[in-house]
Amino acid sequence: MAKWGMVIDLDKCTGCQACTTACSMENNTLPGENWQDVLYYHEGEYPSAQMKWLPRPCMQCEEPSCVHVCPTRATYKDDEAGGIVFIDWNKCIGCKYCMIACPYGVRFYADEQPLVEPDLKAAFPGEDGQLWSPPYQGPQEDWSRGIGIQPKGVVSKCTFCHHKVSQAPAGTPDLDEDDPDLKEYVPACVRTCPPKARYFGDLDNPESNVNKLIGNKRGVRLKDETGNRPQVYYLGAGANIPAFQRRQRS
């Protein structure tokens, strides 16, 4: 079984948020429920100020702290599914301990006040147990893996588009959107990336492109000191997180 990993080249990423939009459309997430996001950081001051940005999916950690803290095993790491961390919405009690424990802030409890108006939950009231029911919905729904539109009172997160990658032929080293035979299996954020800054493949396959990129281009993992050991690697300059500092609104 593959161990799915993602490589993001920050020297190519333009911070355009196409990945965020594609993820939201693919997975029917609400505004603010950004399973995939691009985070912007400012450092320094004029004239030497710099702006950096980091695309941030769920890191699908090898040692996921969210899994360790979940009191009901609703959050679990599925090695049979490529090491993806899932949430079983049938078991989640909505205690939000996983949101506390995730160092990367990739978990969302969408049953909260809307980020923007109009509130889409009010515009498209939930049916059949869903938190909200938009007119278009992704065809795949699997609550045992946290795929689809969630019910009320549970936490949601990125699934590495398991509903797509799980359909890929066994033994595929890389899911490359440029390969016509594989493009349907590529995660939405990877497939849509205009500058092709994202790569997706099998970290257990020494011949995979993702492994070569990590090895040849000195791939790093964010916040590696946490010990969570993400399955998402970053290439290029700027793969670090500036310490939090308060900024005054002008």
């Binding site: 803290v69 979940c70 009191p71 095993r73 506390i100 995730c102 409890y109 049953d111 009172g153 549970v154």
Partner: protein, 399 residues
């Protein structure tokens, strides 16, 4: 012995009706808003996921644990001077924990699912799993111990064993509750292996405040109406223990504050400097709710006065409630990995629904307390037990 207990009369009935109304109103308001808006009725979000309902639960759970530990003074360590408050300690510990759990139940996304998902999941790596197990055991032991006291079995071997089990259960439950926060290395404000000690000490302080307040309340705030042994305790050892606990609590808070302010890490430093100490509410709570009662009770003449004791208990209620709130929220206000999406320290203030849950929990304590005072003799102690009735037949005394 208990004729002077005003809770058994019309004053108690009046308080019962009033607190019942507040409880029902609090529950009704929260339930109505949550039915209409779901958890959007709360002001929590992805940055501050745990808000006032969690801090309220924490406050109640630790006050309960504190009362459990105080009950161990006579029941485990055999300091007989404290027998007159043992039964009330156990009862208060039980009802305050029940009330805390009621607030928590309203906060969770799927409370009833927890009943089967927790035992079937058996996720022994999760401190929250153990919180469920240990507080369930805590409740069980409290109930069992109370049942033995109700049967006037104070000193049998079985009672002592239950008392020791309960004492250990309380230590484990509240210590584990601390570790829910203290083991989170990704939340530096909380990450602290000594947090269980902090929780024990502050828990006993809030338990003591509850004991003082509710004991006086039972006698209409008139110490002259108390049974002699209880009166003696309230004039002697208990206020000294109260002031000691407050002193240690204040010291511990200061140690955390100083190390936090000294730390360079913004997740600790800024929480103290720009969130906690920037809040006038925190200052009022700390100086007025912890230091002031400590100073008042330091005075040998003041600390024996019933009015001062009750006032200090009420001040400590507020002081430690705020302490729990700023502890829970403070651990989350520095945005975690959000970049400039989270521009500044996260803003959180409890919504009316969240406040209504806090009032619901507090009112529930009063409801159960008055019922307990009416139904049981909570001031009972071995001294009041008729000779020969202190042990069940065949039980071997160990004291």
């Amino acid at each position: 012995m208990t004729d002077n207990n005003v809770m058994k009369g019309s004053a108690g009935t009046g308080l019962l009706v009033l607190s019942l109304l507040v409880m029902v109103a609090g529950f009704g308001y929260a339930a109505m808003n949550m039915a209409a808006h779901g958890h959007a009725a709360f002001n929590t979000d992805a940055n501050v996921a745990w808000g006032q309902p969690i801090s309220t639960y924490l406050y109640f759970a630790l006050a309960s644990s504190g009362l459990g530990l105080l009950a161990a003074v006579p029941l485990v360590f055999k300091v007989k001077e404290y027998y007159p408050v043992a039964k009330r300690c156990i009862f208060l510990a039980f009802i305050i924990l029940i009330s805390g759990m009621a607030v928590l139940a309203m906060e969770l996304g799927h409370t009833f699912r927890m009943i089967w998902a927790l035992p079937f999941g058996m996720q022994v790596q999760s401190a929250m799993f153990w919180m469920g197990v240990l507080y369930a055991l805590d409740l069980l032991f409290l109930l069992w111990k109370f049942q033995r006291m109700e049967g006037r079995d104070w000193d049998s071997k079985t009672t002592l064993q239950i008392g020791i089990a309960s004492f250990l259960g309380v230590l484990l439950a509240s210590g584990n509750l601390a570790l829910i926060f203290g083991m989170m290395s990704m939340r530096p404000f909380w990450f602290d292996p000594s947090l269980p000690i902090y929780f024990y000490l502050t828990g006993i302080a809030s338990g003591m405040a509850a004991l003082v307040f509710y004991t006086y309340l039972a006698y209409g705030f008139d110490r002259g109406k108390m049974p002699a042994a209880l009166r003696q305790l309230m004039e002697g050892g208990l206020p000294k223990l109260f002031v000691t606990l407050l002193g240690i609590t204040f010291l511990f808070i200061m140690v955390r504050m100083i190390t936090g302010l000294y730390a360079n890490a913004p997740e600790i430093n800024l929480v103290w400097s720009d969130y906690i100490l920037a809040s006038p509410v925190y200052h009022i709570s700390l100086w007025g709710g912890i230091l002031l009662p400590f100073l008042l009770l330091l005075s040998p003449t003041l600390r024996v006065q019933p009015a001062v004791q009750v006032a200090c208990a009420v001040l400590v209620f507020g002081g430690l409630f705020a302490e729990r709130y700023f502890f829970v929220v403070g651990g989350q206000v520095i945005p975690l990995f959000k970049g400039t999406w989270a521009w500044d320290i996260s803003q959180y203030a409890p919504s009316a629904t969240e406040w209504s849950l806090t009032f619901m929990g507090a009112a529930m304590i009063f409801v159960l307390y008055v019922l307990g005072e009416k139904m049981f003799n909570l001031s009972d102690s071995p001294a009041d037990t008729p000779s020969g009735a202190s042990q069940p037949a065949g039980a071997k005394a160990t004291a």
